[in-house]
């Protein structure tokens, strides 16, 4: 929901970033206020996922110019874990499997680490078990997933649900969902979208990074941004996503730079 009086959570200005000395982000700007849902769309290689990784602080990406203000903090000065503790959450496109660590152990460790940083009480295993089971209902997850190793042997849909479960536990101020819809069948997509919708409120914000309009049928964005060649080239409302679905990306003017040969 758009409310002009809301607090600005994220303010990205003139962001440039390299991976392996190749510039991927080339002057990226975005402003996100609390209560808002933004969608960033674009073709493969446009820099969407790079933006998500740079926000979370992945060391493979070097920021060469620009600034990221996260509430009242300079995000680029923070280590990845400090960003998480400050309330940033990245739902991974490809969640990592960690054989040997029980999901319950991992979730509780993450939850308690963040709670301590925020000056709250830790939960002991029994308290946490009650708490996490409640959150799992939100995502229609089988409690068996608590006993299994983190993401190991999970289907694509189960991994994505586990990501949203972490989001529900950590209660971030800003969530970036990187291609969360990829690999999901329609039932799993609805469950994941429902979870995200229940977590979203007037005090937090969500950025959906996606290829397809499909997800946006279930999580309705306030803004749709189109990325090309490392920056946002067009911004509109939710109807822009529908237009992209029917017309593809080619019609959008790029002011010179295009993805050579790219088709929708």
């Amino acid at each position: 929901m758009i409310n002009d009086n809301s607090e600005t959570i994220l303010d990205v200005h003139g962001l440039r970033a390299n991976v392996d000395s190749t510039e991927i982000l080339k002057g990226f700007d975005i402003t996100v206020k609390s209560g808002e849902i933004h969608a960033i769309m674009g073709l493969n290689g446009s820099g969407k996922s790079t933006f998500a990784k740079v926000l979370a602080g992945h060391s493979a990406y070097q920021v060469t110019a620009g600034s990221i203000q996260f509430s009242d903090q300079d995000l680029l000065a923070l280590a990845p874990e400090e960003r998480a503790q400050a309330g940033l959450f990245l739902a991974f496109q490809y969640p990592i499997e960690i054989p040997g660590v029980a999901n319950s152990q991992f979730l509780r460790l993450a939850y308690n680490t963040v709670q301590v940083q925020r000056g709250n009480e830790e939960l002991d295993p029994l308290e946490f078990d009650d708490f996490v089971r409640e959150k799992m209902k939100l995502l229609d997850m089988n409690p068996d997933f608590l006993d299994r190793s983190v993401n190991e042997g999970f289907s694509g849909g189960e991994k994505k649900r586990n990501e949203i479960l972490q989001m529900a536990l950590l209660e971030p101020k800003l969530s970036i969902l990187d291609e969360t819809d990829s690999g999901l069948d329609i039932d799993a997509l609805k469950i994941v979208a429902n979870g995200v919708n229940q977590i979203a409120n007037k005090d937090n914000a969500t950025i959906l990074v996606t290829h397809y309009q499909r997800l946006l049928d279930y999580i309705v964005p306030d803004y749709v941004h189109v990325m090309q060649a490392g920056r946002i080239v067009k911004t509109g409302g939710k109807e822009l996503a529908l237009e992209l679905e029917t017309r593809g990306y080619d019609w959008i003017g790029t002011g010179g730079q295009t993805n050579a040969g790219a088709t929708a």
């Binding site: 602080g57 493979a60 874990e81 054989p99 660590v101 993450a110 963040v114």
Partner: protein, 433 residues
């Protein structure tokens, strides 16, 4: 000659053993005599021996390491912390000598469990066909030494179709410095039997000593055994171990070997699949640091068709430690339809840590499935980033991933208290970095 124990010394020690002239023991005397003969013929291996090319055991020759004498009395209270609540059947050996006052045997129905020297007269007919028959001493000086000194040792024989629910816990405790202790175990599983064996090597002192361990396991048709081997000697010890396993028709053997201790350790595991449809699963975890050297050599020999072997070996190496893994899998010409897999995964935690890993597949049958793979690496950056992005510090993330790497093996141990003890050891070690 740089041998640990001189031939003369060996002979004199054996002469000092109590004379027993009963016929029942003549076979044992002969076995020992053959072993003594082999000790005289063989030399300590050096780096020039193919089987020992990564493992320099010459430090072993710097001290005499005489055979241990019976130790001072330990009290139960000294070792209670080592007990496993699920394992009520416990045999304790102190410096290789059986300690009945520290041992505890509750299961006696349809099985034999006890000390070799005490069971020899009553159980000779079941012991003789197996003792010294699997762990060959003709080409292994340490097995030869162990057999030459054969006196005390654990004997466990499970009767036909008997399933023993409480695990058998063999506790080998080192209390003396600069001695050699000979640990010996014989497990005989009759047709359709089922048992869990834990061999646990610990030290209650901090100086150097030698443990020479030989374990023989024979499983008859359809028998099952789980065999957990926990090597947590002190960090100055030498641990030289040989385990030989013989699997009959459709028998199943699971081995989990955890190597944490010793300055220099060597574990040879030899599994012979002697009849059809036998299965074995051989897992190992080595967790070492400092200047430790830990060498695991396994040999799985598929002699007959339809056998299955699964093997996963993992090493976590910190400091300037050195791990060696050599995994030989032999598939003989008649062993068709063999299904075998082997994986060796190694985690290096420091720039000076070192591993030599070698799969060695020798396949002479044409209709088999054999897979193997080896990896050596550091902690994965993407995994670290994933955990950091959930709020964990880099150190916490590293510790968790290191722990997880080992926990994958430890989690396969079906005894809760043992698993928890090991999890705690691994946690302490990973977090002390």
């Amino acid at each position: 000659m740089s041998s640990v124990v001189s031939h003369d010394y060996l002979e004199s020690l054996l002469e000092s053993l109590p004379k027993d002239s009963t016929d029942a023991l003549s076979w044992l005397k002969q076995l020992r005599a053959e072993a003594i003969d082999q000790v005289g013929r063989q030399k300590l291996p050096t780096l020039r021996d193919e089987e020992w090319r990564f493992t320099d055991i010459s430090p072993l020759t710097k001290l005499p390491y005489r055979p241990s004498q019976a130790a001072a009395d330990l009290r139960l209270a000294d070792i209670e912390h080592l007990f496993l609540e699920e394992a009520n059947n416990r045999l304790v050996f102190v410096d290789g000598h059986y300690a009945p006052q520290l041992s505890n045997i509750i299961d006696t129905e349809n099985l034999v469990i006890g000390n070799l020297s005490e069971l020899l007269s009553s159980q000779a007919s079941s012991i003789q066909p197996h003792l010294g028959q699997y762990a060959k001493f003709q080409e292994n000086i340490f097995t030869a030494q162990n057999t030459a000194f054969l006196q005390d040792g654990a004997v466990i024989a499970i009767a036909r179709n008997t399933s023993v629910s409480a695990p058998m816990h063999l506790l080998f405790i080192a209390t003396q410095k600069e001695v050699t202790s000979y640990a010996r175990c014989l497990l005989i599983g009759d047709t359709g039997s089922n048992v869990t064996l834990i061999e646990d090597f610990v030290a209650l002192q901090e100086d150097a000593y030698v443990t020479n361990s030989v374990t023989e396991i024979s499983l008859a048709a359809n028998a099952q055994a789980k065999h957990y081997r926990i090597q947590r000697e002190n960090n100055k010890a030498f641990h030289l171990a040989n385990c030989a396993v013989s699997l009959a028709h459709a028998s199943r053997y699971q081995s989990i070997n955890i190597a944490l201790g010793a300055h220099i350790s060597r574990f040879n595991l030899d599994v012979q699949i002697t009849d059809e449809a036998a299965e074995c699963s051989i897992d190992g975890l080595t967790l070492i640091a400092g200047k430790q050297l830990s060498d695991t050599h396994t040999n799985i020999d598929h002699l007959k068709p339809n056998g299955t072997s699964k093997q996963q070996n993992k090493c976590i190496i910190d400091g300037a430690a050195h791990a060696v893994f050599n995994g030989k899998i032999m598939v003989r010409p008649q062993a068709q339809q063999t299904n075998s897999s082997q994986s060796s995964r190694n985690l290096l935690l420091s720039s000076q840590a070192h591993v030599d890993t070698k799969p060695q597949l020798e396949i002479f049958a044409d209709d088999v499935k054999c897979a193997h793979g080896a990896t050596v690496g550091q902690l994965d950056h993407e995994e670290l980033f994933y955990l950091q992005s959930r709020g964990l510090s880099e150190d916490a993330a590293r510790n968790l991933l290191t722990y997880a790497f080992g926990a994958e093996i430890i989690n396969r141990i079906a005894i809760t208290s043992l698993r928890q003890q090991l999890e705690q050891i691994v946690l302490n070690q990973t977090q002390s970095r």
